[in-house]
């Protein structure tokens, strides 16, 4: 029920087309009901020869009392003057008018319904997309991209099925069903009731169907998502697959996924393949009832022949809604399965949320950052940072140093609030960052992430990412600071070179330099460089550093680097060990202290004999082996 309400929420924006749909549908129902009336009127005329055996010449038209009779007489004052052929002609013309009407209404109905249906799909996708952007990184770490995509594309498509097909079909067919039932009652109540005999069978079948098919559909949508995710993972790691010659194993593994998806589909199809023919069969039992009992009634002369004929014609319309309803029912089940998955996603709460009274930071912050007793962990009971207190005055350069996995990147990612601290607080210019709007906070922070992500597009698009309205000069200036201009300039298409998905067509260092240019162009008061030059050679690194030095003036900068040569000039170096800060100071201060920093420095400058020794040892070992 909740799912249904959720789904109906999406019809709200499309009231007008939906009203048109409903109006068109109701009219359509009325028109469809009239059609057999015309035929039966006609048959009552042509039946005259049978019952009276009087020649056609002595025909006198007695119109039925219903409105068809009246419509047939439009434009004549004296019905008795009409010949039989005149009347048939008039009735056939009337039928034609109704058919045209039906065609127009059919179009209107489908059109309006689809405008609403696709509109709702687009709305749902927009909402999901907006929601996805609000969700914090933690969510993405737990989710598989392929599955998210599948929810967004395959599952939301189901809204169209529901709104454009299932709902209109349901309404129209329920109306039609009762309409026909009422008319049939008018002919013969007994016969009408008799033809209802199969209905309980159908209701029973539909209930069983619902019970089994919804889980089957849900399983199917889930398998589809899984398959998508696996394939996405696989193609993202294709280089590894080849390097480790896993091609066959992988093909087999995904093949197994494909089979599972197929089987889940077949389970649903099997149910459908039994349900539909069963409904069709049950409904056709009505025809048999009609032949048998109706025929007898005619023989007993309790039912005129033309009524039986009309009954036959109505019966088609009578059971058609039943058949259509069974189709609509299936669609509804399908849509619900999709909607459940979409709703699940939309109900996912972002864990980094903006306060409703969050303030917008003035245009440009000064950039003073404070960590006050900050603790953080990703996973329960595995603290990453504990009791971190650190004051970075505006315009200072601070370097973070520490072993792999200690939490340097984590600490940096707390500043733009990718994650929320568990304990303590972080302030920017004295404002707790949780009191600021996310947008205004993140606009103050320019970051070069450790694992570079570039978008598929041109180098230009990527540099302009943070400031699409920057001028050509500004862009080139940023590229020059990042030392990217040199190599971009030599490319035949320059800045318009397409760099491939995630920048696959660039070397590691080239990617990093684009990422630096992107961050530089953003021109924010806080700059975070997380291993920004780890894949860049030392000479280029130096050039970049010199350029950045100039840029750092007046900016608060946080540098993370393992290559200590890059951080020596920092105003303060912060050493992280375990989950805490163990040392803080300038290079000169730390180098004389007995601690990790000095050790790291020593290792980096370690005297060569060690390597010479290692090399010799390996050589002699090799001689033994060969």
């Amino acid at each position: 029920m909740k799912t249904l309400r959720f789904l109906f929420g999406y019809t709200r924006n499309h009231r007008f087309p939906l009203i048109v749909t409903v109006l068109a549908m109701s009219s359509l129902t009325a028109v469809s009901l009239v059609e057999p009336k015309i035929i039966s009127e006609m048959i009552s005329i042509v039946k005259a020869p049978f019952s009276t055996s009087v020649g056609a010449t002595s025909f006198a038209y007695v119109p039925s009392s219903n409105f068809i009779g009246r419509l047939a007489l439009i434009g004549t004052t004296d019905p008795s003057r009409l010949t039989m052929l005149d009347v048939i002609g008039r009735l056939a013309f009337l039928a034609l008018v109704f058919y045209i009407l039906r065609a127009v209404l059919t179009f209107l109905r489908s059109y309006a319904a689809h405008v609403a249906g696709w509109g709702a799909v687009a709305d749902a996708r927009r909402d999901i997309y907006r929601h996805l952007q609000r969700l914090s990184l933690r969510f993405y770490e737990d989710q598989k991209t392929g599955d998210l995509m599948s929810r967004m594309v395959n599952d939301s498509d189901m809204f169209e099925t529901l709104i454009a097909h299932a709902i209109p079909d349901t309404i129209v067919n329920v109306l039609l069903f009762f309409g026909v039932a009422a008319i049939l009652m008018g002919y013969s109540t007994r016969l009408m009731l008799l033809t209802l005999v199969p209905i309980p069978m159908i209701v029973f079948a539909a209930r069983g169907f619902t019970k089994y098919v919804r889980p089957a559909f849900r399983a199917r949508q889930k398998e589809l998502g899984d398959l998508n995710a696996t394939l996405n993972d696989n193609l993202s790691g294709i280089r590894e697959i080849k390097a480790f010659t896993r091609e066959d194993i992988e093909a087999e593994r995904i093949g197994a996924h494909i089979s599972r998806y197929r089987d889940s589909l077949l389970r649903a199809l099997r149910l459908m393949a039994t349900f539909h023919p069963f409904v069709e069969f049950s409904s056709s039992l009505g025809t048999i009832v009609l032949i048998y009992f109706g025929g007898q009634l005619v023989l007993q002369e309790t039912l005129p022949l033309e009524d039986l004929v009309a009954f036959f014609l109505y019966l088609n319309i009578f059971y058609q809604p039943v058949r259509m309803l069974s189709g609509a029912w299936e669609n509804i089940q399908h849509a619900m399965a999709g909607a459940e998955r979409v709703a699940e996603l939309l109900h996912e709460e972002p864990d980094v949320v903006e306060r409703h009274d969050a303030v917008t930071l003035p245009e440009r912050a000064d950039g003073a950052i404070s960590f006050n007793g900050v603790s953080f962990r990703y996973v329960e009971h595995q603290p990453v940072l504990e009791d971190i207190t650190l004051h970075i005055p505006a315009g200072h350069v601070v370097a973070l140093v520490g072993p792999t996995g200690v939490g340097k990147s984590t600490l940096a990612s707390l500043i733009p609030r990718f994650y929320d601290v568990i304990d303590g607080s972080i302030t920017l210019d004295g404002h707790d960052i949780r009191d600021l709007t996310l947008r205004s906070l993140r606009q103050q922070v320019s970051i070069v992430l450790q694992d570079v992500f570039l978008f598929h597009g041109t180098a230009r698009d990527n540099i302009l990412f943070g400031r699409p309205d920057a001028t050509e000069e500004e862009m080139i200036q940023a590229a020059k600071i990042a030392n990217a201009h040199e190599f971009l300039d030599t490319l035949p298409e320059g800045y318009d070179t397409v760099i491939g998905e995630r920048g696959v067509k660039l070397s590691g260092g080239q990617k990093q330099r684009l990422a630096i240019a992107r961050a530089v162009l953003k021109d924010a008061p806080v700059l975070i460089l997380d291993e920004a030059t780890s894949s860049v050679d030392t000479q280029t690194e130096m050039l970049i550093q010199e350029a950045l030095e100039r840029l750092m003036v007046g900016r608060t900068t946080i540098i993370i680097a393992h290559r200590l040569s890059t951080i020596r000039s920092a105003d303060a170096i912060v050493v992280l060990e375990g989950s805490r800060i163990t040392q803080t100071g300038t290079h000169e201060e730390l180098i004389v202290q007995d601690g990790l920093y000095r050790q790291l420095n020593e290792v980096q400058n370690e005297i060569e004999p060690r390597y010479v020794m290692l090399r010799e040892r390996r050589r002699s070992a090799a001689q033994v082996v060969v």
């Binding site: 169209e160 390097a243 992988e250 947008r439 598929h456 302009l464 943070g466 590691g508």
Partner: protein, 609 residues
């Protein structure tokens, strides 16, 4: 290279620009004998099911046609003549007909979907298998999201044709013929009158089909944009959030999304004009029957039963026609889809195994690059005249500015790409003469941009050796110095790694990748910036461990941090695609060239402070 789903290509830049990834030559053909025959090959193993389904289709079509006739008999012979026994018999016959009709159509439907889904599964598996075989150059230029949607949507439309379409075609044509014959037999004049609307219908269908082709292509293209856009934004969400670009991205997405919605509505609108038109033409025929048939009954030239049956047949007559016109669209889509799928299946790997390729014998470890030239794109040479010999057991370091071609050299040794000039030889055998997998199986590679798969840590370390024991996994992790942090995790080696390794620090990811390469027990080890994000202390520990491992094995090490490579036997300085200096650390220092400059910048300046 025409591989995106639609004419609008899917790749997009942050500026919202769509970049061409190939064009979609949707020829809109309804029948392409080549495509069809290739596709039919997939159905062949299921010939028995298909024939059964076909027979059942014929049966249900025939039974469907019999029912109106039975009703006619009921009215004309039994009701009018007051024949009670006959009426009973007819009712019974109708019942039998219905049971037969729905039983056969149920079995037929099931058989078809079963076959269809099996074929679909096989086709998808084959596609996926083929994707694994395609060389890296192919994957460099194709967007993952688009490739995935190819595996789903294009294969899906082919299935529509194979499993449902062909049988519908047959059954519709048969039904049509049956109805025409019955109607002609019952009353030729009335029948011919009814058929007068058929030409109109044919014209309407043709007009529709022409427009529909364009419209459906548009829906596919816009749908591909939505998928492509989404895939990338999801992957780059961290960057989007970091740069506070949600608004721009949202706008862009909405644009694509709207375009998709409008294309769908447009395509549907066509159907909505077409369907009622066909329906109307069908009812026109009913009006004709009523008008002329009514007169004929009046003049007793026709019985009432014939009219009732005729009306019923007329309705049935137009249904197959409607279906056929729908089938027309399905066929077009299937042909286009089939063509694209075949194109993918027919894309030969750019790095093929020769038919004469032999298994690489156990590698001793001599690697030689002989006058190697290489380019990713033909006009832009990346490597020129590279000559390099690595003796078995030697460790060679490649250093040089970014973009110089170091990674490219390692790509050539592992034969991810083929040289454009010269040759790469391993133990004196040209790598192009051996089966590439047998070559790589003996190599261990830590790429510069390593990827971890979703799965457990142990699964990932075992990647190259699925059979490896837990102890071997631990040993490899120890060598890579990864065991320490793994042990600290509450689930240890069974900890789930998220897609791409998102829940580990970049350095930790590198350690895991080293463990993965170590476990593969390689004869040649390639480490491309394998420790660039690892702190120096850990790096030293890894180096010591690797040193023991490397005894007797060949290694190629690429690094910017010179401390990483000082213990190499030989150092090659690469600049702008050439080897500019070569020798041991001491030799190069003594020479006073580029290397010395690099070295001094990194060390001497460091110790001077």
């Amino acid at each position: 290279m025409s591989f995106s789903i639609g004419t609008t290509s899917v790749g997009r830049g942050p500026g919202g620009i769509l970049h061409g990834l190939g064009d979609d030559e949707d020829k809109g053909r309804v029948w392409d004998a080549h495509v069809v025959s290739r596709m039919l090959a997939y159905v062949k193993p299921y010939r028995a099911s298909m024939v059964t389904a076909f027979v059942l289709t014929v049966i249900s079509a025939a039974l469907g046609l019999a029912v109106p006739y039975l009703i006619k008999i009921a009215i004309d012979q039994h009701i009018v003549n007051r024949d009670l026994v006959g009426l009973d018999l007819i009712a019974l016959a109708t019942l039998v007909a219905f049971v037969g009709l729905y039983a056969s159509s149920a079995i037929q439907q099931y058989l078809l979907s079963l076959t269809g889904q099996r074929v679909l599964g096989e086709m998808r598996s084959q596609l996926v298998g083929h994707l694994q075989d395609l060389h890296l150059g192919y994957h460099d230029t194709h967007i993952i999201g688009v490739t995935i949607s190819r595996v789903f949507s294009d294969v899906g439309v082919i299935n529509d044709l194979l499993s449902q379409g062909l049988i519908t075609l047959a059954s519709d044509v048969l039904t049509l013929i049956g109805i025409v014959v019955i109607m002609l037999l019952m009353d030729p004049r009335l029948a011919l009158l009814t058929f007068t609307v058929v030409p109109l219908m044919v014209v309407a269908t043709m007009i529709f089909a022409r427009h529909a082709k364009v419209a459906f292509r548009e829906t596919r293209a816009t749908n591909a944009s939505v998928v492509g856009d989404l895939a990338e934004d999801l992957a780059g969400m961290r960057v989007i959030q970091a740069f506070a670009q949600e608004g721009t991205e949202q706008e862009h997405f909405e644009e694509v999304n709207r375009a998709n919605r409008d294309a769908n509505v447009r395509a549907m609108t066509l159907s909505f004009i077409f369907m009622p038109t066909v329906q109307f033409l069908g009812t026109l025929a009913t009006a004709v029957v009523l008008f002329f048939g009514g007169r004929a009954v009046a003049s007793e030239a026709l019985t009432l039963g014939v009219i009732v049956a005729f009306l019923s047949y007329v309705t049935r007559f137009f249904q197959p026609i409607r279906e056929l016109s729908q089938l027309y669209t399905t066929m077009q889509q299937a042909m286009a889809g089939g063509e694209r799928v075949l194109e993918l299946l027919d894309t030969r790997p750019g790095v093929p195994d020769r038919s004469s390729a032999v298994e690489m014998p156990a590698i001793r470890g001599r690697v030689e690059l002989r006058d190697v030239g290489f380019a990713y794109r033909s006009a832009e040479p990346v490597l020129r005249d590279v000559n390099l010999t690595i003796e078995p057991g030697e460790t060679v370091a490649l250093v040089g500015p970014t973009g110089a071609g170091k990674t490219s050299i390692s790509n050539l040794i592992a034969r991810f790409y083929d040289v454009t000039e010269g040759a790469v030889l391993v133990d004196g055998i040209d790598v192009r003469d051996v089966a590439q997998r047998s070559l790589r199986r003996q190599m261990g590679i830590v790429p510069q941009d390593p990827y971890l798969f979703s799965g457990t840590i142990a699964d990932n370390i075992r990647f190259g050796e699925p059979e490896a024991s837990d102890e071997a996994v631990r040993e490899a992790a120890r060598m890579a110095n990864a065991d320490e942090f793994i042990e600290r995790l509450s689930d240890g080696y069974e900890t789930q790694i998220q897609e791409g390794g998102a829940n580990f620090s970049v350095g930790q990811r590198q350690l895991l990748c080293i463990a993965r390469a170590v476990l593969a027990d390689p004869r040649i080890l390639i480490l491309d910036e394998a420790t660039s994000s690892v702190d120096t202390m850990t790096e030293v520990l890894i180096q010591d461990a690797l040193d023991r491992l490397l005894a007797g094995r060949t290694a190629v090490v690429i690094a910017h941090r010179l401390s990483t490579i000082r213990n190499a036997d030989q150092i090659c300085v690469i600049d702008d695609g050439r080897i500019v200096e070569q020798g041991t650390h001491e030799e190069l220092l003594a020479r006073g060239g580029v290397y010395r400059e690099l070295y001094e910048r990194q060390f001497v300046s460091a110790s001077a402070v």
